[in-house]
């Protein structure tokens, strides 16, 4: 399914020695050349068979050219023929088989042949290279896989794995993802250790944070400075660093982005072999999943991971109840976006989410955490103002934001009013209150 072409270099009719160049996105003409030279030295018959599954005008043209050349120089012992016939009629895909044979007369003196043959085989190989590359262009031909960008490196790595290990595209993506996630596992463990530590000291940190918020809302700068200093000291004393818990996302996010952009670029280019690099219902990796199954699986696994509390679960105590709702809404909000992503991206996403899920489930096995040195998570601290409902929470945080904004403005509002009082026209003022009725006395006669 995933084999787009196959080049066979038969050095004998019995196929005793054959060089196979399969599915390389780049035609390895140098290797082929070496093989032919070797066969020439051995004075053996050499057949190059190129088989592709897709009919390509480029390849047919190339074959015709070779035929013309061989017709012109009849003396050259090169025969080439093109056959356009379905390999497996059941699959319904037609194939082009180009067979070029260099025949070396064994009895003749090898001097003439050795002069003629490298030339002829060179021409043949070059033509073949052009033909194959037109069918199976390199990443660079497609304008992707730049060596200067991380996205390009990801693409090159994926392509290398696909071609050199002869793996279908879906397996390439899955393996690559799993390898990277496994490499990141120690960071994940470290993150978990930090999260557990943080949860241990969460009640006090939370209390101080609450105090800090209140002081800020009151506009009490002195108190703000005092509490933040206390918080800083407390965190330093117990080795709590919020940046530590950001380490995993900070490493994971660029990798995710590179894979996402890389795979999207490859699917949009598109890399021709990706068209048949899928599995089950998603055979074409370059288009979106027509049944929306992969996006659904992506969202479902993400939801489960968040619910089981992988990266964020430990932090929920400090985040407030609304954070839980937001985390739950993330997979739902993502679903419409993932619908139109190429299947290749979805395959990557599903794999990485499943890996996260497996990580979480595996770490739930009792005893394993102790072995990895992850301390037990302290029970989540009780929220300081848990009486509030979600709507009340949102409302109060909105009004608090307004208060803080107003406090900021008050810092300069007095100076503005004073300057305006001096600039603008004087306002009429009275010695008495003009809004109040005064007793009017009649003049004495």
């Amino acid at each position: 399914m995933f084999r787009n072409y196959r080049v066979l270099l038969r050095t004998s009719p019995l196929h005793k020695r054959s060089y196979r160049f399969e599915n390389h996105s780049c035609f390895h003409s140098q290797l082929l050349r070496q093989g032919i030279q070797q066969s020439n030295l051995l004075n053996k018959q050499c057949t190059i068979v190129l088989r592709t599954l897709s009919t390509s005008p480029g390849l047919l043209q190339a074959a015709e050219k070779i035929l013309e050349e061989s017709a012109k120089k009849a003396t050259e012992p090169v025969t080439a023929s093109t056959v356009a016939s379905p390999v497996k009629p059941s699959e319904g895909t037609s194939s082009t088989v180009l067979e070029a044979t260099t025949v070396t007369p064994a009895a003749d003196s090898s001097a003439a042949a050795s002069v003629a043959q490298p030339l002829s085989s060179d021409t043949l190989i070059d033509t073949l290279a052009v033909a194959v590359n037109s069918v199976n262009p390199t990443l660079q031909d497609l304008g992707i896989g730049k060596t200067t960008t991380p996205v390009g490196w990801v693409q090159i790595t994926l392509d290398w794995l696909h071609t050199s290990c002869d793996l279908p595209w879906w397996l390439t993506i899955v393996i690559c993802t799993c390898v990277i996630r496994t490499v990141l596992f120690p960071i994940y463990v470290k993150n978990q250790i930090n999260a557990a530590n943080m949860s241990k000291f969460m009640p006090r940190t939370q209390e101080l944070n609450q105090e800090l918020t209140l002081a800020r809302k009151r506009g009490d700068q002195l108190e703000v400075a005092r509490v933040s200093q206390e918080l800083h000291n407390y965190m330093k004393e117990h080795g709590i660093n919020p940046l530590k818990s950001m380490l995993l996302p900070m490493v994971q996010a660029p990798i995710f982005l590179c894979f996402f952009l890389g795979l999207r670029g490859m699917a949009n280019a598109p890399v021709p072999s990706m068209r048949e690099g899928g599995l089950f219902w998603f055979t074409d990796l370059t288009v979106a999943d027509q049944y929306y199954l992969l996006p659904l699986i992506t969202s479902a696994t993400l939801f489960l991971t968040l619910e089981l509390g992988a990266e964020f679960g430990k932090m929920q105590a400090g985040m407030g109840p609304w954070m839980k709702y937001i985390l739950r809404a993330v997979p739902v909000a993502l679903f419409p976006f993932t619908l139109h992503f190429p299947t290749a991206v979805c395959v990557y996403w599903t794999t990485t989410n499943t890996f996260s899920l497996v990580q979480v489930i595996v770490l739930k096995i009792p005893g394993l955490k102790d072995k990895l040195g992850i301390p037990a998570v302290a029970p989540a601290a009780k929220k300081l103002d848990s009486k509030k409902t979600f709507v009340e929470e949102v409302k109060s945080s909105w009004s608090n934001m307004k208060v803080v904004q107003e406090l900021k403005e008050r810092e300069r509002i007095d100076a503005i009013a004073f300057a305006r009082a001096g600039r603008e026209a004087p306002v009429k003022t009275y010695k008495y209150d003009p809004t109040k009725i005064r007793a009017v006395r009649a003049k004495k006669a």
């Binding site: 209140l214 809302k217 009151r218 506009g219 608090n400 208060v403 107003e406 406090l407 008050r410 509002i413 007095d414 009013a417 004073f418 300057a419 305006r420 009082a421 001096g422 004087p426 306002v427 009429k428 003022t429 009275y430 010695k431 008495y432 209150d433 003009p434 809004t435 109040k436």
Partner: protein, 252 residues
């Protein structure tokens, strides 16, 4: 008792002090009083008699503070001071003022603190004195602002030319009481900082505490008028049926 004795009691705790502290009068009174002996209250056979300090010495210590208490202990004598009565207080926190005396004469600054009981204000960063302090075996020298008298030592600044000016309280057309520069006739705006208390920067910015009733809850009318006495209402709530027949009564 001297005839002018009432003058000495004129200056008690200032209104602004109370406003800024946001403390109830009863608390301030209770915290500052120095009573030697008191007759029991609530018994008609005792006359209302209190023996204790009547005249307090005020300075930069707030009346409810421990320093104030120590300074005003019974039997303690403090150096008397003369106070010029100020009829309409016109200096508030956040006001731009010019210092008229001392080494910072001619400099302008902002009022940061008010001691109404002594007619004092503190102007931010001006009229400072070096103060030596020792803590943990180290000596520090602190610049500390000294109070300035509102009657003589500071003046408002005219917003037009930024020069010191005399002010008076006048009314705008809408009946608002404002301070007006007597030279240029311009209104000196009341600083927003003046409405701050220890609990909030402005009444609108007050954050409800744990024990505060939300204002929405406060204005809710929960009383339902009914033609019942208090006892009748309680009885109804408890499910008590009144089946007693009142004894006949006769009027002659």
């Amino acid at each position: 008792m001297r005839l002018y004795h009432f003058l000495s009691d004129v200056k008690q705790v200032g209104k602004l002090t109370k406003k800024i502290s946001n403390l109830p009068d009863s608390y301030i009174q209770r915290a500052m009083e120095q009573v030697e002996w008191k007759t029991p209250r609530g018994y008609p056979w005792y006359q209302k008699r209190t023996v204790g300090r009547k005249k307090y010495f005020f300075d930069a210590d707030r009346p409810w503070s421990i320093d104030f208490k120590l300074r005003n202990e019974i039997g303690k004598h403090n150096k008397p001071y003369v106070l010029e009565p100020v009829k309409d207080w016109s200096f508030f926190i956040g006001d731009r003022v010019e210092v008229l005396v001392g080494k910072d004469k001619g400099k302008q600054g902002f009022v940061v603190e008010i001691f109404e009981e002594r007619n004092w204000v503190i102007v931010e960063g001006l009229n400072c004195k070096l103060k030596k302090q020792e803590a943990a075996g180290k000596t520090f020298h602190l610049q500390e602002e000294q109070p300035l008298l509102v009657t003589r030592e500071i003046s408002h600044v005219d917003p037009v030319d930024l020069k010191p000016c005399k002010t008076e309280w006048r009314y705008t057309e809408s009946g608002e009481k404002v301070r007006v520069s007597m030279r240029s006739g311009r209104i000196i705006p009341m600083p927003k900082k003046a409405e701050a208390t220890v609990d909030y920067k402005a009444p609108s910015l007050y954050i409800d505490g744990e024990k505060d009733t939300p204002s929405a809850e406060m204005v809710k009318i929960t009383f339902e008028p009914a033609l019942k006495t208090f006892e009748m209402e309680i009885m109804e709530e408890m499910g008590i049926q009144e089946d007693r027949v009142p004894a006949p009564s006769y009027w002659y």
